[in-house]
């Protein structure tokens, strides 16, 4: 069956792609790292160099260690998962807490909600965000509304749904989607997207422990390619708090997930070639999102660019743009720019042209400064 391929991210494939997709090369050209304060003060024995899936794995292990009710389940999680995020967890915590489900996303979501509303910390995996849609009814109509409709007698706060999202170089329509906007339009849900391994573990633990249902979207592009030191222990990065990745004075650039690395490159080039100083913001939580950090930045710079892989129309760039013009109208020196995917399904052979890459973002930075 061509529907899914567990071999998508074989190491050898990825190396080839990082050379071909020079525009999206990671780690060698950029120095995007996670929040430094998370590793400050820790000595070497408490840290380990990890890639994103190892960091996720570490976070999941901490979650199961610290909470005896925590369970992880979904398709193929028992042997380690198609992206290796759940390696070794079944051996460590047993088959009652780490288990495979039948191939059925609506079942996974329904089961997860039933567990979460009955005293279990339910960590469900949707193998690809592209396949989350059969579960949409359960997530949007049930999980998100459980507390509200029951008058707070019941709640689905112990639910976390993890799912790989985003472009991977060769994913096409059904292995590349970024469906965050559908969920960010649903009151009652939280949507979280990490951008580095260190961020991923901390945000994952915060999401699991947050008393609200969270859709946690993992940028599959970064599973192997993003590498940094990550604390071995238990730590959290707060939800709904963005971070300034890099301070600047001329243009505010907002992104999240894998796109942050693309933006970091664009921002670097803008400085090198045009002496434009950009302030790069990682939103981390897409819903509810940290408005203040963006407003404060735009009041300083007067210019805003939002960039995401998802199609531009009704993407989160639209929401951010709307709020910024509501609150910072008189500070704006130029129209807000969105550098996003086109309003087409995600094409395979055209990915390099479709993608909101470094060049398009660099162009936008220059344009907004020249306005």
């Amino acid at each position: 069956m061509l529907r899914r391929s567990a071999t998508l991210l074989k190491t050898s494939c990825l190396r080839r792609f990082s050379v071909q997709h020079g525009i999206r090369q990671m780690s060698s050209n950029t120095e995007i790292e996670g929040d430094k304060s998370v590793v400050d003060g820790l000595d070497k024995a408490e840290l380990e160099t990890m890639n994103l899936f190892t960091a996720i794995n570490s976070g999941l292990a901490v979650a199961l260690e610290s909470d005896p009710t925590a369970c992880i389940f979904g398709e193929d999680v028992a042997f380690g998962g198609v992206f290796r995020c759940t390696m070794g967890l079944k051996d460590k915590f047993g088959g009652k807490r780490v288990f495979n489900t039948p191939l059925c996303e609506q079942g996974i979501a329904g089961l997860a909600i039933g567990m979460a509303t009955n005293g279990v910390t339910a960590i469900a995996e949707m193998q690809f965000a592209d396949y989350i849609f059969p579960a949409f009814d359960q997530i949007v109509n049930e999980a998100a509304k459980y507390r509200y409709r029951s008058g707070n007698q019941f709640d689905c706060g112990r639910l976390t749904i993890r799912t790989p999202y985003g472009a991977v170089g060769h994913g096409g329509l059904y292995h590349s989607q970024s469906p965050e906007a559908y969920f960010a339009h649903t009151p009652g849900l939280k949507v979280v997207v990490p951008s580095t391994p260190r961020e991923a573990k901390g945000l994952l633990l915060a999401s699991i422990r947050d008393p609200n249902p969270v859709v946690y979207m993992e940028p599959k592009w970064l599973y192997r390619s993003a590498v940094e030191t990550v604390p071995l222990g238990d730590y959290e990065i707060p939800l709904s708090k963005g971070r300034i990745v890099q301070s600047g004075s001329d243009v505010t650039v907002v992104g999240w997930g894998a796109q942050l690395h693309v933006l970091a490159e664009a921002v670097k080039k803008a400085k090198e070639e045009q002496q434009i100083s950009c302030e790069l913001i990682d939103l981390r939580t897409l819903y509810p999102w940290d408005e203040e950090i963006v407003f404060e930045s735009v009041r300083k710079t007067g210019r805003l660019i939002v960039s995401h892989e998802a199609p531009v129309t009704c993407g989160l760039g639209a929401e951010i743009s709307a709020r910024v013009q509501e609150e910072c109208f008189l500070h704006l020196e130029a129209p807000i720019r969105r550098v996003c995917g086109y309003d087409t399904p995600f094409p395979l052979v055209f990915e390099k042209l479709y993608y909101p890459d470094m060049l398009k973002n660099l162009e936008a930075v220059k344009d907004t400064v020249d306005f």
């Binding site: 009652k96 997860a112 567990m115 979460a116 005293g119 279990v120 019941f154 509810p288």
Partner: protein, 451 residues
């Protein structure tokens, strides 16, 4: 060989323990080739696999049965039998199956049936008068509700669809709870957020009803799993009620498959009342009801006369025993008839004859059967019936009046409970509404709401 599958199917589901359906290979025409190179299940895995419990669809190549005759299993409506204890007139057909619940319990059940009918009568009329916005009656299904609810224990977790009033009442949901919910007032446990009949009670372990159909079914698979495999509770089960129409939803199929593979102690109780709004069952499915689907998922199954209180009770007791003792799901299909309209938004005479409805009311009513049994033992009489009807109506109208007079919840309840906390953007939106009401408040019915 395959033609004989149907009776074997019946035998398999009627026996209390799962049996391996052994199939003799007297007609095998092929000799299986050497299979030493193929992977096989270990004996332990084979013994524990649910697939092995019912049918010989063994993954082991050696154990597959190959036949030389081409026999398509014609789906010709082989019918699973329907278990009954009480005749429609209230006579016990086999005394050995009388659960002998006793005068006190049975009288209480009958009085609850009267309460259900009175509530339904009053609330339906009250909706017609425009005093509540919506209502759904339960006529014809009281035996399904009470017979099943009476078996359950306090810690059992219950999910419903919307036509389970008797289950709620038997658990202890009060008249006040009901009326407050129907009127969406400030004492509503649900804080006025949902349409009438969307009941829920944390205290009674009855999860709040939601409108989307069948969504509760896979949740029940998860709840059962949580009870048994995470919390280690060996004397609790999850029960999930749903209708014949809801059982067409994908969530039903997902739920049963999950419950089976994960050994959830969940009882799936299908109220087959013949209709999903206007859609009769022959337009809802082509197979032998919902019960026939159970074995397909590897789930123990029984069909029962849903209008027979004792039969439902016995079946539920057995189902609960299987679920809790063996940690596995059970499918119960209770055959009944939806005497009332789907809801107050429906006029069912538009799609079915009044004579059909009359037939069921006259010839097969759950109340009639129980009353027959009670009166035969001198535990009930016409005099008591008259008294009880009068007293019940009085109680119901009094609770209605109280609920009607209460204010709705405070306006701030719009913004609470979307999340555990009230996030900044909702605080801002609440402030926007407050500001709007400061100047425009006179155009809104603000006095309806609690301060």
């Amino acid at each position: 060989m395959l033609r004989s599958l149907a009776p074997r199917l019946v035998a398999a589901v009627c026996s209390s323990l799962s049996t391996r359906v052994g199939v003799s290979s007297s007609r095998a025409a092929f000799k299986a080739p050497s299979t030493s190179f193929l992977p096989t299940l270990s004996a332990a895995a084979a013994a524990s696999s649910p697939a092995h419990r019912l049918f010989s669809s063994a993954p082991n190549y050696d154990q597959r049965e190959f036949v030389g005759e081409l026999n398509v299993i014609r789906s010709d409506g082989a019918n699973l039998p329907c278990y009954r204890v009480l005749s429609p007139q209230g006579e016990v057909l086999d005394a050995a199956h009388d659960p002998e619940l006793g005068e006190e319990t049975l009288v209480k059940m009958y009085e609850t049936m009267i309460l259900m009918n009175t509530l339904d009568n009053v609330c339906y009329d009250v909706q017609r008068q425009g005093r509540i916005s919506f209502y759904m009656t339960n006529y014809g299904e009281s035996a399904s509700h009470l017979g099943s609810a009476a078996v359950l224990k306090k810690d059992d977790v219950i999910y419903g669809q919307y036509r389970e009033l008797g289950v709620l009442l038997w658990r202890g949901y009060t008249l006040e709870n009901i009326m407050n919910q129907l009127y969406s007032n400030h004492l509503d446990l649900g804080k006025g957020r949902q349409m009438p009949v969307h009941y829920g009670s944390r205290e009674l372990n009855f999860h709040t009803i939601s409108s989307p159909l069948a969504t509760q079914i896979p949740q029940a698979s998860g709840a059962g799993y949580a009870l048994r495999h995470v919390h280690g509770n060996t004397d609790a089960c999850c029960v999930c009620y749903f209708g014949d129409g809801a059982a067409s939803e994908g969530d039903f199929h997902a739920a049963l498959n999950f419950a089976a593979t994960l050994d959830s102690p969940t009882i799936f109780f299908c109220r087959n009342n013949g209709y999903a709004i206007s859609t009769p069952v022959h337009e809802q499915y082509r197979g032998d009801g919902i019960a026939a689907r159970g074995p397909g998922y590897g789930i123990d199954t029984i069909r029962v006369d849903g209008n027979d209180l004792f039969a439902v009770y016995n079946v539920m007791a057995k189902a609960r025993k299987i679920a809790t003792e063996e940690s596995r799901p059970v499918l119960v299909e209770a055959m009944s008839y939806r005497v009332g309209h789907h809801s107050t938004s429906d006029d069912s005479t538009r799609y079915r004859g009044a004579d059909e409805i009359e037939y069921w009311k006259k010839n097969d009513a759950p109340e009639t059967r129980l009353r027959g049994y009670l009166e035969a033992r001198g535990w009930w009489s016409q005099e008591r019936e008259d008294e009880e009807l009068k007293a019940t109506r009085k109680r119901v109208l009094s609770a209605l009046k109280d609920a009607e007079g209460r204010k709705k919840p405070g306006i701030d309840q719009i913004f609470h409970d979307t999340y555990a906390e009230v996030p900044p953007h909702l605080e801002r939106q609440q402030a926007q509404l407050t500001e709007h009401l400061n100047t425009q408040g006179i155009h809104y019915p603000l006095t309806d709401f609690h301060k």
